[in-house]
């Protein structure tokens, strides 16, 4: 029974890693490559580590495996976000089929900050207060 569980977990993990590598090879755009890669590889390595945690009867191995999975789940999105942000600043071209680019013109090229966050909040407050006064 345990062998079947281990076989299924390791197969799903290895296949998702394989799909991540095929995706990074075949996707047309840097952002699509990033989007495919991070999630699938984290899932695959996590499943393989769960395999190791089931296989060894030790508590220390289980602790180590859970620590690695936790670390990967925390750090992979942070690293992906940082490298995607750097790629957007250096002007990596988008795929020609990309329709929506919500960040276009929103970043200040000098200070690397998102524009208009605080102003939008203030505008919202003003409009809501105006609406209230109109209703009153």
């Amino acid at each position: 029974m345990i062998e079947i569980i281990l076989a299924v977990l390791s197969t799903v993990g290895a296949l998702s890693i394989l799909f991540a590598s095929i995706g990074i090879l075949r996707m047309p755009d840097f952002y699509l490559r990033l989007s495919v890669t991070v999630k699938a590889s984290t899932l695959g390595v996590g499943l393989l580590l769960i395999c190791a945690a089931i296989m060894f009867p030790d508590v220390s191995v289980t602790t180590k495996a859970i620590a690695i999975i936790f670390f990967l789940i925390i750090t992979a999105p942070i690293g992906a976000h940082m490298i995607g942000r750097a790629a957007y600043f250096t002007g990596t071209p988008l795929w020609k089929g990309t329709i929506v680019n919500e960040l276009e013109g929103m970043y200040d090229q000098e200070t690397h900050e998102l524009e208009g966050e605080e102003d939008d909040d203030q505008d919202d407050n003003n409009t809501s207060s105006d609406a209230k006064t109109d209703e009153g």
Binding site: S10, L48, V61, K64, F71, R85, A87
Partner: protein
Amino acid sequence: MITLEAYFDYVILPILSISVMLVFIRLFKGPAVVDRVVALDLIITIGIGIITVYSIRSNQEVFLDVAIILALIAFLGTVAFAYYIEKQKDD
């Protein structure tokens, strides 16, 4: 009846090695620097998986310590690359 050891040896590890080879093609081709950074990060992540399977196969749980350090190095490398690529644009 196929044993689990043979399954790890002849199915899982070849799949992982083929994945590393496919990512290496992207590491050489990659048109931008960021593509190569992501490919390198993915190679290290697959390396963690290979280390895990190898530690299962050889019954040596010590190798998981290497996996911890490798995950740390992958994260630090990606963050450092992103930081300096972003700084590079300012000049």
